[in-house]
């Protein structure tokens, strides 16, 4: 008999690994990905593939150059790639896609220390980055941020008052917008999967969406319009896949619900009072920055602990 292994307790661990969590997120993103290809054609597939490849390769090369242990196996880079692509529309060029993906993975994730260390959601940040830079760069590429173009999405329509797509079209995604955000059914499938697999708590997206619904209702005094506000833009996609990112949101469920509430309020404020018709990515980004403070706010006095 060889030497006995000596290690500290506990000696059993749950089967769940980081890789499994990320794989579940990829599976949850699959319906939205398929819907994107069906609705927007093979160009969507190309862009998603470019985004994922750039993210994974970018992280791989960064770690290679910095002589850090490789982490692409945990699949988080692939998740970022898919989410980023699904956040953009098909008019984005391939090189813009590459720039956006590199920004997300290198600047937002790797520079801050890699998985678990970034304070902002890479995909949300890259989307905002692309919107700002290319809107300012020139009018010839105004379509990167779909919502900037009046009439391109229902949100634009709401802002300009032109005709709205039917609710059925909204559900199946037969409307303009980012690749992954239009098909409501696909997003809901992903949501249910994530909840069933206990990757996310249902409360977080629900609070986000409910906040937007209620506030839109109050502002428009029209429940029908409020429904459109919920179903259009990147709200559902952002609420399910971005506001639930572990790394950049508070650690306790209570904190995450405050986070979601904040996201909802900010989204509505930006949509109604900001110069952009869409505010989900901005809202998530701002709340990302506030997350550490929410964590402090929601720190619990432990069981039997003395209040300090």
């Amino acid at each position: 008999m060889g030497n006995l292994t000596v290690s500290t307790s506990p000696h059993i661990r749950s089967a769940v690994t980081t890789q499994m969590v990320m794989r579940d997120v990829l599976i949850a993103l699959a319906p939205a990905t398929v819907a994107a290809v069906v609705l927007f054609g093979l160009r969507a597939l190309l862009l998603i593939a470019v985004s994922v490849a750039t993210c994974v390769l970018g992280e791989f090369l960064f770690h290679l150059i910095c002589k850090k242990q490789q982490t692409i196996g945990d699949l988080s880079a692939a998740v970022t790639g898919v989410i980023l692509a699904l956040n953009l529309n098909t008019q984005v060029t391939v090189w813009q896609m590459i720039v956006g993906a590199l920004f997300a993975i290198i600047v937002v994730k790797c520079f801050f220390g890699g998985i678990g260390c970034n304070f902002a959601n890479p995909a949300a940040t890259a989307r905002v980055f692309l919107a700002i830079s290319f809107a300012q760069v020139g009018a010839q590429v105004p379509t990167v941020y779909t919502d900037l173009v009046a009439g391109a999405t229902p949100l634009g329509n709401l802002a300009t008052g032109s005709e709205l797509p039917s609710l059925v079209d909204m559900l199946i995604g037969n409307r303009g917008g980012s690749m992954g955000e239009t098909c409501v059914i696909a997003i809901l499938l992903g949501f249910v999967y994530l909840v069933v697999r206990r990757v996310i708590k249902w409360q977080v997206p629900t609070v986000f969406v409910a906040t937007v619904f209620v506030l839109s209702w109050i502002f428009t005094k029209d429940i029908h319009m409020a429904l459109y506000y919920v179903l259009s833009g990147g709200l559902l996609f952002g609420a399910v896949f971005m506001a639930t990112d572990y790394v950049t949101t508070p650690i306790r469920t209570s904190g995450r619900m405050i986070f979601a509430l904040g996201c909802g309020i900010l989204t509505v404020l930006i949509r109604f009072f900001g110069s952009y018709p869409e505010g989900v990515s901005f809202a998530i980004l701002i709340m990302n920055i506030l997350s550490p403070y929410i964590d402090k706010l929601t720190a619990k006095v432990p069981f039997g602990g003395k209040r300090k």
Partner: protein, 445 residues
């Protein structure tokens, strides 16, 4: 949350639940360390060459927080040798060569009990410690009753660690003794209320306990969910009485005493027969053990002999870890020469594959550890604090986050998808705070 503490689902693996303990009569050396409890080591009262019999006192308790030690076999004292405890302390240990006769000592007579004082003395003389693994001498816990502070006794029959079924067997095979034990406590301590807490994955125990206590007044059998860690002291106290033991206080401060069902059984046997704690039931299990079973074994028997009694290993070459205790909180053995102690409820042996732990990766801030902690602690804060360069700052953060409350139950490490060594970090953090406070105290002097 269901309003109860403890929410972790872990595999139960109570493979040996239906197996009454089989007796082992050791042939190999018996090694009895002078400290198998929290507190001062006992003082040997025998020397090399002495003949001893089962139940003969071979070491005297040393001060109030201590416990006497009895010969667990008949035979000859070979020598008194140094023994290294897992906590790093070196104590004396008495090595006995058994003669195989198991002759009981003539001095065995039931203790004379006239009042609470003599009852507490009897408990102390019984050699019972631990009442649940920590090894706190039973008499010390019960002494709180001298000033009448305790109104409720909780009999801990939750046995929440996977694999272990020694308490399960105690409740099934020794139900009558547990009943007698409760009557004795009632009679001599004047405590009226008794709660027997059992997890719902042991229906036979619940049925048996309800049966023997059917007509007993003030005794309630409470079914607990089989969610880890139901058996942790603070958890079972809250889940059965809704009382909260504040930080830095003892259960007695909120009027409760928690005793393990097996301890009550041993106590009843001692008071009726005079035979002190000399043997115990150990669950031997794990995927590296050939014939998993419950064994009643004299204390001091080596792990080696106990495992051999259970058919040995499935494959000698494929043994990764051998544990004393359960997989959530148990400790690894470095050698099989280790003796069974008063506090050893199980010996588990795992194959290399089962023993293998995954390498930790970066924390993804998923919050699973926080949700899993039965006490609402945030283990990520503890781990993060250890990274601070400044010692004062480290200690400050650790204390602000109430690290002292951590009971090292293992829930946080268990659920972590990044396989972070959270409990290990908590231990480091606790040690750091302890050292710092001790240092401050010496500075003051």
């Amino acid at each position: 949350m269901s309003g109860l503490l403890g929410n972790l689902r872990i595999p139960h693996r109570k493979n040996t639940a239906s197996m009454p303990a089989v007796k082992l009569n050791p042939t190999g050396d018996i090694l009895l360390p002078m400290s198998q409890h929290i507190g001062a080591p006992a003082t040997p009262v025998v020397k090399a060459g002495d003949s001893v019999k089962v139940g003969q006192k071979i070491a005297e308790a040393n001060g109030p927080v201590s416990s006497p030690i009895y010969a667990s076999v008949s035979g000859k004292v070979l020598k008194i040798e140094p023994y290294l405890r897992p906590n790093g302390q070196t104590v004396d240990a008495i090595r006995i060569a058994p003669d195989g006769e198991m002759t009981p000592a003539e001095e065995i007579v039931p203790p004379e009990i006239v009042d609470m004082e003599s009852f507490l003395l009897a408990i102390r003389e019984s050699g019972i410690v631990g009442l649940g693994g920590a090894g706190f001498p039973a008499s010390v816990k019960l002494a709180a009753q001298k000033n009448g502070k305790i109104d409720t006794v909780i009999l801990n029959g939750s046995e929440c660690e996977p694999y272990i079924t020694s308490d399960t067997r105690a409740m099934i095979d020794g139900a009558e003794w547990i009943y007698k034990g409760v009557l004795l406590l009632k009679q001599h301590l004047g405590i009226e209320k008794y709660i027997i807490g059992v997890e719902d994955n042991k229906p036979e125990c619940i049925r048996k306990m309800k049966e023997v206590f059917a007509s007993a007044e003030g005794v309630e059998v409470v079914t607990l969910p089989s969610k880890y860690p139901q058996g942790a002291e603070k958890v079972i106290i809250y889940n059965t009485t809704k009382r909260v033991v504040p930080e830095g206080k003892l259960p007695a401060d909120v009027g409760v005493l928690v005793v393990n069902v097996s301890s009550v059984l041993t106590l009843a046997q001692y008071i009726e027969t005079g035979m002190p704690l000399v043997s115990r039931v150990v669950t031997v299990d794990g995927d590296a053990i050939k014939n998993p079973q419950n064994v009643e074994v004299p204390i001091g028997t080596s792990a080696q002999e106990l495992i051999a009694f259970c058919g040995g290993f499935v494959n000698e070459e494929d043994v990764g870890k051998v544990l004393y205790g359960g997989p959530m909180m148990g400790a690894c053995l470095a050698t099989l020469a280790e003796p069974v102690l008063k506090t050893t409820g199980a010996i588990l042996a795992f194959t290399k594959k089962t023993s293998k732990m995954q390498e930790p990766t970066a924390c993804i801030h998923c919050g699973r550890c926080v949700s899993a902690c039965p006490l609402d602690l945030d283990p990520t804060t503890f781990s993060a604090a250890l990274a601070y360069g400044d010692k004062e700052q480290r200690v400050q953060i650790l204390q602000d986050a109430h690290i002292g409350l951590c009971m090292e139950c293992g829930c946080c490490s268990y659920v972590c998808p990044a396989k972070r060594p959270l409990v290990q970090n908590n231990r480091l953090g606790k040690a750091e705070v302890r050292d710092y406070l001790a240092h401050q105290a010496t500075l003051k002097k």
